[in-house]
């Protein structure tokens, strides 16, 4: 008899006893009963003696008492992990949050913080998902999370459709007389990620705490978009140059796949090229550089030149496929990314720890402690989660183990 069958037979016997069995099931049970000593076995396990005996054992098992013990043990184990974490309420515009963070770290580190168990933290700290806000040219704000699969705006020039996968722009009439383009802005908050298809077919994945400004229709000789934060571009080939402007540098391309990260609260700009060719220029256009596939350029605001190295592009683009991918990355950068995704604040008790490095991959839909535990196993840090009792913000605090 296969073990799997045992569970099935149990169900049949239960149903026959409680007279809830169907005819077909009864036939099946009868077949089983006719085999070997099954009938005898059946009578035996259903005997009053056996059932009462089991009932006594159940009583002795003291389910509720033991469950409380188990619960205590689990809580203790969680406590041993010593974690601190602070979760920020989702603010509408992540960019604003980012500006606050540096100042508020000091404030929230005061005595308001109470340490919370991992379990409590995990119930409140959830990975991000697809959410974003679109601001139309006339200032109308549209919450994209609640409007799935709808055409959210349409005029003679363009229709904007919110699909499950993101936002799609379609040019309605390419011969429509060109006028001054209307600009839309897509904001993705902490814990969000969003995909958008621009009117020229270019696909953009916008990472957490990022915004992208673009025209409803590309007019003129160039296609220009403005980025704050991180985005992955798959630019549709065209004679018109596609330009990504950030506050630090710009990227000019004809048709390629590349990643750009330029957060306002970070001092560096980085760009990674997956295929094709791109031209980078710093803000004053004093420095330009051309990247080849698998090259990664960094520009630091106080440094004179772009730094270029060959990389595994997967490290820099895994985020758009729902993964964290770190290769010898500094903890400061890793935790900044985690903070954006899980919407928590990060605090290094010892600033030296920011320079520890970590290599590893994790799916972004894992709970926050998965990656934190992974990091703690391979580096000399431990973490704690705390919650500000007044604001209900969570903070991850990293210290020496």
């Amino acid at each position: 008899m296969q073990e799997q069958t045992s569970y099935h037979i149990s169900n049949l016997i239960y149903k026959s006893v409680t007279e809830t069995i169907s005819k077909l099931e009864q036939q099946e049970l009868n077949r089983w009963l006719s085999q070997g000593n099954n009938q005898e076995f059946y009578n035996q396990i259903l005997s009053k003696k056996e059932l009462l005996n089991t009932k006594e054992i159940y009583k002795a098992a003291k389910k509720q008492t033991v469950f409380n013990k188990v619960k205590k043990k689990i809580d203790q184990k969680n406590h041993e992990n010593i974690i601190r974490l602070k979760l920020y309420k989702t603010l509408k515009y992540a960019a604003i949050v980012i500006l606050f963070i540096s100042g508020s770290v000091i404030f929230y580190n005061s005595n308001f913080n109470e340490e919370v168990s991992t379990q409590e933290a995990l119930e409140h700290i959830k990975p991000g998902y697809q959410k974003a806000t679109l601001v139309l040219a006339d200032g109308t704000e549209i919450d994209l999370e609640s409007k799935s699969d709808t055409i959210i705006a349409s005029d003679k020039i363009t229709t904007i459709q919110n699909t499950n996968n993101g936002l799609v722009y379609n040019s309605v009439d390419s011969n429509y007389p060109e006028e001054n383009p209307k600009y839309n802005t897509l904001f993705v908050p902490n814990g969000g990620i969003y995909q958008i298809q621009l009117p020229d077919g270019t696909k953009v994945w916008l990472n957490s705490a990022s915004s992208l400004k673009y025209p409803e229709k590309f007019t003129g000789d160039t296609r220009i978009v403005e980025l704050d934060g991180e985005a992955y571009f798959e630019v549709t080939k065209s004679k018109k140059q596609f330009i990504v402007q950030t506050n630090k540098c710009s990227v000019a391309v004809l048709g390629t796949h590349f990643n750009v990260s330029s957060y306002e609260d970070e001092s560096s700009f980085t760009s990674t090229l997956v295929e094709g060719k791109i031209k980078l220029a710093n803000a004053l256009e004093k420095q330009t550089v051309i990247l080849s596939p698998n090259e990664h350029a960094t520009f630091k605001q106080n440094a004179p030149n772009f730094q270029i190295k060959s990389v595994d592009t997967e490290v820099y683009t895994a985020w758009k496929d729902g993964k964290f991918y770190f290769e010898q990355e500094r903890l400061e950068q890793i935790l900044t990314k985690m903070g954006r995704w899980y919407n928590v604040q990060i605090n290094f008790e010892d600033p030296e720890l920011k320079n520890e490095t970590f290599t590893g991959v994790a799916y972004k839909n894992e709970p926050i402690d998965y990656l934190l535990n992974l990091i703690c196993k391979t580096t000399k840090v431990k973490y704690k989660i705390t919650k500000d009792s007044e604001s209900n913000f969570y903070e991850v605090s990293i210290s020496n183990s």
């Binding site: 239960y14 006893v17 809830t20 059932l51 089991t54 033991v66 188990v70």
Partner: protein, 190 residues
């Protein structure tokens, strides 16, 4: 209790303590009885099952919806019980006499525990009067008249309470069906 498949697994994986409690409440007693059958010691049986339940919590993220959670639970309890016996027999004398040889077969043992679990949990869920009548009719196999006399009620009351019990259990079965399906389908990788 309304449960749906995706939610329970999802919640358990995410660390939802409520989903964990459902699992514990459903299986703790029968696993305890299963362990007790082998180890014949209340403390040892409790320790064995508690450890396995703790492992479930720790490994919750690796729960695989495509495998059988019951199978994982019973097999783990059996293995842990045997380990316990091996250790104990090293320190005391080898005493196989303590083993109950009535159900030596693992599969039969599981049928017994699972059947008892289902019946006892079903009884537990019935209203008190219903439960008494149903227990006497269906489990002790007493005649309506005997039940009526014992409980000092009319034969018609016995019949109607019995019918009511079956009705309740049928309703539950619709949910239980879903529930069993859920539990059948959660298990642990490795």
């Amino acid at each position: 209790m309304s449960l749906n498949f995706e939610n329970l697994i999802h919640n358990l994986k995410e660390g939802d303590s409520q989903a964990y409690k459902v699992l514990f409440d459903t299986f703790y007693e029968s696993l305890y009885a299963f362990a007790f059958h082998y180890v014949k010691d209340h403390y040892a049986a409790e320790e064995i099952v508690v450890n396995i339940m703790l492992t479930i919590w720790e490994k919750r993220r690796t729960l695989d919806p495509n495998k059988n959670i019951k199978s994982y639970l019973y097999t783990s309890v059996k293995n842990a019980s045997f380990d316990y016996l091996k250790k104990r027999n090293k320190t005391t004398s080898l005493n196989l006499e303590t083993k109950d040889l009535t159900f030596t077969n693992f599969e039969q043992r599981i049928i017994k525990e699972e059947t008892h679990r289902l019946i006892l949990q079903a009884l537990e869920s019935l209203p008190k009067k219903c439960r008494q009548v149903f227990e006497m009719c269906c489990i002790e196999n007493l005649k309506y008249k005997e039940v009526a006399e014992t409980l000092n009620i009319s034969i018609n009351t016995v019949k109607s309470q019995r019918a009511r019990a079956i009705e309740i259990l049928k309703m539950q079965l619709k949910e239980e069906h879903l529930f069993l399906f859920i539990l059948n389908n959660i298990t642990i990788k490795n």
